[in-house]
Amino acid sequence: MSLVPIYRPRPSPLHAAGAGSTTALCVSLALVCALYDHPVVVVAVIAAVAGAGLAAGVGSEIASAARLSVPLALLVTVINPLVYAEGNTLLIRGGSVLGHRFDITLEALAAGGLAGLRVAAFVMPFALFAACVDPDELLRSLRRVSYRSALTAALATRLVPVLARDATRMGDAARCRPHPPGRLAVARAALSGSLERAVDVAAALEVRGYSAGRRAARVRRSPSRHDVRVLAAAAAVACAAVAGKLAGAGSVEVYPRLEVGLGPAELTLSALLLLAAALPFAGRSARLGVARA
């Protein structure tokens, strides 16, 4: 199982919808993480993505990405109280190093925890995107807007597992040496190998007319029933998030005292997020016989 989710066609509404529609849903869920640091709302985003991932058949990929985000979240949680000494509730009185006091407060620890939770939540919509959106289709839809950027993204997606395999191979070769070289030497060689591979790919693109610079033909595709539902879910999530923010929902005060408001606004917003994420999968028309490639 790769740490970074890789797209594979599956019979699910998120896979069957166009790349643009599913991307819109993932972006709208990421927008909620950008707008809110309220723990209930952030947990609702995590739950919404996890539910959508499970329903789309990519639960293990999402779980794998979540596991990857845990160390990062913990790091943020631990570092924050070491950097910020604000807050009224002193937990540990540390010493002074180079004129900086290392006091650990409950508020700084809580702020670190909230920031860590938010980091973890941010990873989730992108994991859903990587697992459910066909990069080739996304490239095609973005070709007329920014072809080179889209191609770079598609290539990066394609080359991540290839480079991971290269690095594994080099690690195996190092283990075969009677006196294995240091990890740094292997990592440096792997990096230089990846640059060589990048040159090979560039050559391959050149001989297939990459620099001809012709404007790609427009590809029109009628929206399917899945597109409608997924886009509706994306719009619902985005509208609820923006409206909630304008209405002052999800306010969190950390310093000098931790104050997390929990009222009908936060609960309604969280429920809306969960319902919107479930929308693409609801009803008989969401069922699929065969996956669209």
């Binding site: 075969c176 070289p181 391959a204 007319g209 001809a212 033909a217």
Partner: protein
């Protein structure tokens, strides 16, 4: 007389910062619809010529070019790869490095989309090329799920989707097993005949592709050394010392027979003409030797084995069964060729013996250290200077004395191979030395040198096990051949027993002689023919 699709007059090219030219005074004309094989030893300039034909030289690699080289009427000095892409499709050696997109359908469509073709035209071209190349069933697959052979076919289909007049291929069979390699060559011949696409194919294994070729261009030190139909080329190669001659041509040359045949069929006809029909006829009955399976002479050995596997299984969780109850024993000083098609489990078996992977069931015994050289020798070379990889004695053993300051990536493929082998052997004497596909992309001279090194290692008591698809090489060095089916050993015996009676896993000499006398190598075949002629 058809118009030439390629025309070169006094073309020269030198890579940036290189001391000498890679191509020199090249004069060449290739007709439309021709099938040309580029022959030459490693570093002779074959790949550079292909890169010049597709415009990467000089536009992508830089360097200095002079003289004239036109492809489809376009000068490669004036037109870059993107313009030449309308005339020629290019397939490199490693399909993994040239597949760009995640899905097969998108991969095939890419070149036409770069040209701005309408969506309907792209869809139709993709469908047609997929059917022609036999990859229609792969259209909805992800590229990372394809096997090496499938990926190579997809890469060729992607190069052909725009119906180019010329298809360039750089050692396309080097990563394929004999079955997939043969299939690919004949597929190319069919496309050449039915679509009229001119094919230029650089290959080391000439015996595989000469039967499909109209002509052969031999490149030596960047210049055309021979440009002739296959039979004339083989006569030239035999006269030049045989480094580029096919095994059958070498056999005829050693036996003093002529004319030199280009194919096994021609060789048989020639033998019939010389009154040696019974030698060249396909064996009507199986070899008098027992069928090559578990041979009693192996079981009789009771000393300490260098390597031993008992009831070895490897089953991937939620995946296929890779090895299923393999029993093998390798004796000290034994030289073993481990053969079988791609996916048979050869590389996995070597990794298990080395301890890079653990079996799910079964027992492994090693009498001492095990050295393993994996498929990509470059993976072993992680320092900036060759001298940092191994000491001076190892450099000398690799034939690189005095080149310690060279960057390993600046060494040729053969030099890297030799250096990597010395790196894995630098820990002192080993009970076993395992080599995984060491002859990929290697010319005959380097193969002979490797066979000699294998002989040295075995003479010092190591069991040498070489996983290879190269039957000719196996016949040269091995005193035992283990043939694997999917996850199991299906034949195990002396080379003459395993390789003489086969078809795909057989040498050209054995095919020509119908397995007679167990002759596998040109020298053995020539001795047999000489005996018959005298008789």
């Amino acid at each position: 007389m058809p118009e030439p699709v390629v025309s070169a007059t006094g073309f020269n090219y030198r890579y940036p910062e290189a001391q000498g030219p890679a191509l020199r005074e090249l004069d060449l004309e290739l007709a439309e619809g021709s099938f040309t094989v580029l022959a030459g030893s490693s570093g002779s300039g074959k790949s550079t010529l292909l890169r010049a034909l597709c415009g990467l030289v000089p536009h992508f690699h830089g360097g200095d070019a002079s003289g004239e080289l036109t492809v489809g009427g376009l000068s490669v000095r004036e037109h870059g790869p993107a313009e030449l892409a309308a005339v020629c499709g290019t397939v490199f050696q490693d399909p993994e490095a040239q597949v760009v997109m995640g899905g097969v359908r998108s991969e095939l469509a890419l070149a036409l989309e770069h040209r701005g073709e309408p969506a309907a035209a792209v869809a139709r071209a993709v469908e047609e090329v997929a059917l022609a190349m036999g990859v229609a069933h792969l259209l909805d697959r992800r590229t990372e799920t394809l096997s090496g052979g499938e990926l190579q076919r997809v890469a060729i289909a992607a190069a052909l989707v725009g119906r180019p007049a010329l298809l360039l291929l750089d050692e396309p069979t080097s990563q394929l097993d004999p079955v997939a390699g043969d299939e690919l060559i004949w597929l190319l011949r069919r496309l050449n005949e039915e679509w009229g696409t001119a094919v230029v194919l650089a290959e080391h294994r000439l015996e595989r592709c000469l039967p499909a070729a109209d002509r052969v261009v031999a490149i030596e030190r960047g210049a055309v050394a021979c440009d002739a139909p296959p039979a004339e080329f083989l006569a030239w190669a035999a006269a030049e010392g045989g480094a580029l001659a096919t095994p059958v041509a070498r056999m005829f040359s050693l036996a003093g027979l002529g004319p030199v045949p280009a194919t096994v069929k021609e060789a048989r006809e020639s033998l019939r003409g010389a009154g040696l029909a019974e030698v060249g006829a396909p064996a009507a009955e199986p070899s008098p030797e027992p069928p090559a399976s578990r041979l009693p002479w192996r079981r009789e050995r009771r000393g300490t084995a260098a390597l031993k596997a008992r009831d070895l299984w490897l089953e991937i969780e939620d995946g296929p069964r890779v090895l299923a109850g393999v029993d093998l024993r390798f004796e000290p000083g034994e030289k073993v060729a481990l053969m079988g098609r791609n996916g048979a489990g050869k590389s996995t078996l070597l990794r298990l013996f080395k301890g890079l992977q653990q079996p799910t069931r079964g027992r492994l015994e090693r009498a001492g250290g095990v050295a393993l050289l994996l498929q990509n020798p470059g993976d072993y070379l992680v320092h900036d200077h060759a001298a940092e990889e191994a000491g001076e004695p190892a450099l000398a053993a690799a034939g690189l004395a005095g080149r310690g300051q060279a960057h390993p990536r600046d060494l040729s493929g053969g030099e890297r191979q030799r250096l990597a082998l010395e790196v894995v052997l630098s820990g002192g004497p080993c009970a076993a030395v395992l080599l995984d596909e060491p002859t990929r992309g290697m010319g005959r001279r380097h193969k002979d040198a490797l066979a000699e090194r294998i002989g040295d290692l075995a003479a010092h008591g190591a069991a040498v096990v070489v996983a290879t698809h190269d039957t000719e090489f196996a016949a040269t060095f091995a005193d035992r051949v283990v043939l694997m089916g999917p996850g199991t050993v299906i034949a195990d015996g002396q080379p003459a027993q395993v390789l003489a009676g086969g078809w795909h896993f057989s040498t050209d000499v054995a095919r020509t002689l119908g397995g007679a006398g167990g002759a596998l190598t040109p020298a053995q075949g020539a001795r047999l023919l000489a005996r018959e002629l005298v008789g």
